[in-house]
Amino acid sequence: MAESEVPLPVPDERSKPFFEGAKRHELVLQKCKSCGAVLWPVKFRCDSCLNTELEWAKVSGKGKLYTFAIMHQVFHPGFADKVPYNIAVVELDEGLRVTTNVVGCSNSELRADMPLEVTFEDLSEKVTIPKFKPAE
């Protein structure tokens, strides 16, 4: 990976279903078989009921903007031509908040509670990641 590129996640055994889902452009997250809680990021044990019986399930990919920040400082050379860029926390309809970026609108258009839906960016042959865009 060149220094000037955005660092890519390296899928591992535990997170494989998430990245395979993303590859298919599906948001697939862990769900607790015992209490139904949706988990993010990947967990060994449900942090709600402490059960270890988890399954992977496709989620709606719909939610709303909970909070956001606009990064102006370049902490990694891969972001030198991307600042200012947004970092967003999206509250999914499943009752869980995930950290992501919002694409498809300018930073100045970000509003509290704006409806968002998942979209996917193919970053390499191996890695696709979910981001969010204003819901249609």
Binding site: P7, V89, N101
Partner: protein, 387 residues
């Protein structure tokens, strides 16, 4: 039986602060302890307990015992609850003394993350390559603690209408205090406009919303109040203590961005001290960011939840104001020593040794520590009298 007033801070050691090079965190920690026992008028051999808190630079741990040539200690630990540790060390020291297992405990924090060619931001923004889904954070461009606080602050703004200018009032007030603090790293007065014009680090946080980064060390000596009265310095009595650790959750319905552990810690601390919020003369509030001060003041109940912006915007936290807070300039303008910054200034003020910035009424000081993204919190109520 309550610990109220039974134990006291008898010594304070503060090293040089800021871009001080040629010394590592162990060197700073050892110097801080040496200064603290000299300040108290104690001999090294009288220390029988040592609690150590290291920052982000490597090296400082239980090895401090040997660096100080301390033998046969009865209490020793390397503690880490981030910015809430300093307050916690004082609490655990008091409890250990009360349990009868140790008598005189030095509590020390030191760090040396700054190097000549490194910016303050670089010193704290590690970017480890994490496997699996955790690696996503770097791909999304999330680096360092700034982002977490920016997201939390923005949430407060979206929910309650808090403005950047209101945060600026906190930065301006703290700088005005720092101007009068010879130990402070930043001593040029600033205005709200300076705050507004300072570059964004992570919007909504301007540069002047963010703490400094410092090399240095601070130590305090905790011991029985009765013995402390016979020593060199006026004892600063430990009257109340509490902790509150909300943790972080990404579940809907919880509000970790706008609620600190103060809501949990305060009840125990004020009950032990037997005082009310209105009795507090000075507040030393953990200020990694301006926003941390605002949300902490709300959670202690100095104003209603969501009204922190309106509460601070008239400048009441400044030396000219009615509500002396972070009277040394805090971590925004004096020095960044995690929980030791508020604690050290509290000791200086309670003793009446703050010189030109001394607050006339300094009988009761509230000291808070905070760590993580508002995940960990410690509270101390210190006073000039044992009850």
């Amino acid at each position: 039986m309550s610990l109220r007033g039974k134990y006291a801070i008898a010594g304070l050691g503060v090293t040089q602060m800021g871009r001080i090079y040629g010394r590592n965190s162990v060197d700073f920690a050892a110097e801080a302890v040496k200064l603290a026992i000299e300040d108290a008028g104690l001999k090294k051999e009288e220390l029988d307990g040592l609690l150590v808190n290291s920052g982000v630079s490597p090296g400082l741990s239980l090895n401090l015992q040997n660096a100080l040539g301390l033998h046969d200690l009865k209490l020793l630990n390397h503690m880490n609850a981030a910015g809430s540790t300093a307050g916690q060390m004082v609490q655990f020291a008091s409890m250990a003394i009360d349990a009868g297992i140790v008598n005189v405990v030095a509590c020390v924090y030191a760090d040396a993350p700054l190097a000549p060619a490194k910016t303050s931001g670089e010193a704290f923004a590690s970017r480890p390559l994490r496997p699996g889904m955790s690696g996503l954070f770097s791909t999304y461009g999330v680096f360092g603690p700034n982002t977490g606080y920016a997201l939390a602050c923005q949430r407060h703004m979206l929910k309650y209408g808090t403005t950047s200018r209101q945060l600026g009032a906190i930065a301006v007030a703290e700088r005005a205090w720092a101007v009068m603090n010879p130990m402070a790293q930043m001593r040029t007065p600033i205005t709200i406009e300076d705050h507004q014009n300072s570059r964004y680090v992570v919007q909504p946080l301007h540069l002047l919303d963010c703490c400094l980064v410092s090399n240095g060390g601070i130590a305090v000596v905790v011991m029985s109040a009765e013995r402390a009265r016979a020593l060199r310095q006026p004892p600063v009595y430990i009257l109340g203590m509490g902790q509150g650790h909300p943790g972080f959750s990404n579940r809907s319905g919880l509000n970790p961005e706008t609620r600190t552990g103060a809501v949990i810690a305060k009840d125990a601390a004020f009950k032990m001290a037997g005082v009310t919020l209105a009795d507090i003369d000075i507040r030393e509030i953990y200020d990694c960011y301006t926003y941390t001060v605002l949300v902490t003041l709300e959670d202690y109940g100095f104003c209603e939840k969501g009204e922190g912006g309106a509460f601070v915007e008239d400048g009441k936290l400044s030396p000219d104001g009615s509500f002396p807070t972070n009277t040394g300039g805090g971590q925004l303008s004096s020095y960044y020593m995690w929980g030791m910054t508020p604690l050290s200034e509290a000791v200086i003020q309670a003793r009446g040794q703050a010189g030109g910035r001394q607050v006339p009424k300094h009988g009761l000081v509230l000291v808070t520590g905070n760590g993580g993204i508002l995940e960990y919190h410690s509270c101390l109520i210190l006073g000039t009298h044992p009850s």
